[in-house]
Symmetry: C3
Subunit: 185 residues, 3 copies
């Protein structure tokens, strides 16, 4: 009897150390899993956040010239939208508003007929970023430019005609504006 | 003896509750880990799915004009391929076929010599998406356009000359076509 | 007493099998978690590795022509940097050096005034990849080209004027160069 009791006490003792080991292992696993969850969520956010991309061409219907104007106050409005993921682009105003902080790529294409100046600049908020210019081309003017920009949430990107210049568009869509998020910051 | 037995029974009882707690913790960990694995696989799929990008220029060798044709039936075939990840682009037909549903960016550049019309449109399936046009430029015509498009798997993107128009290319590669997946849907 | 001892021995026996099961479960969980960590790290690397994007226009200040030169040895240097994530672009040399192996997109825009030739090529190391060309345009020359390229770490991308040709830039930024990583390989 005494012998059996001693054996059991020893076995109980050994179980205690096994249990402690299991508890330590579980603690370690829980810590690891929590760290992984945080990383996963940060990665998950890339997938969703990256979905910002738009492009539009000037004429939704019909054909015609835009400009020339003697004093240009507002953005060129590209009305025929081919894509607008993330709803950054507003086809009533011509302005793209960054839905999140990140690095973006923008580009625009301008087209005109003979006989006048074609000049368009791309703006970030109120500052010119890049431009195209074609002084009274022999026949058609065709020009484009593009830029990589770091935007804060809410920054506004748009294009604007210079004074006394014009662009042309019809259903074939020559004059267009677009951009997309490269990566969030 | 009676005392030792009672102590052991109490210790056994306490172990039971420790074990139950360990089992509950393990169940919770298993559930968490399974959820994380599902998320991980979905994220893993981004990495692989995103690898779609191509570009090509018209002439694989030699120099010369393509066009003018009186009735244009088929796509411009860009034979000098610089990249074709995802094998979407077919350099025998000039057609890019979307390997997966997603949002893509495409752009093309056209170049011609003096004396004729340069006009090229980019098509999604059988619909014009955007174009370039240069009527008998004084010297060279240079024009480009680009667009963000939402494609279903199998949608076809290609460029086509207009009737009675031409493009030029030589080993310097002026006339080109390309695109890439921005994100899968 | 004998009865209580036997009961305890049975309970101890049952605990042993519970413990063994818990240990097996923990081993399985540890293996799963280790595999997931490896996958997570590989995914994490996408997020960081993807942050390569730059663009720059020719003139940091003032306006003027670059060229014509009779023998062009070095890259066009775009000094007004709008973004340079990943520090691939060097605004002292005009050269972008790939910080990692991957698939990249590059594009450039060239602009000139009337009366001379505008010709620019984009190089990968010492090989021309694509070009623009405008022979003595009637008024302004505007042209662009772009390409998707597979780069090894250290590959160099830059643009170069042809002999006897020029580009123009001023604070409106017409002549520019840029690119970004599409995905690492």
């Amino acid at each position: 009897m005494e012998e059996r009791l001693r054996t059991m006490e020893e076995r109980l003792q050994s179980k205690s150390s096994t249990e402690e080991q299991l508890q330590r292992e579980n603690e370690a696993l829980k810590t690891t899993v929590e760290m992984m969850q945080a990383k996963l969520e940060s990665l998950q956010s890339i997938k969703e956040a990256r979905q910002v991309a738009f492009s539009a061409s000037l004429s939704a219907s019909g054909s015609g010239h835009t400009g020339p104007f003697s004093s240009v106050e507002s953005a060129l409005i590209y009305r025929k939208v081919s894509a607008n993921f993330g709803n950054g682009y507003n086809s009533e105003t011509g302005i793209f508003t960054a839905p999140l902080k990140g690095v973006y790529y923008f580009r625009f294409y301008a087209h005109c007929h003979t006989g006048n100046k074609m000049a368009v600049s791309l703006y970030k908020n109120d500052k010119v970023q890049c431009s195209v210019f074609s002084e009274r081309p022999w026949t058609n003017g065709n020009a484009s430019n593009g830029i990589v920009l770091i935007l804060e949430k809410g920054d506004q990107i748009y294009t604007k005609l210079w004074d006394e210049s014009w662009v042309y568009d019809d259903p074939a869509s020559y004059t267009s504006f677009g951009g997309f998020l490269l990566f969030p910051l």
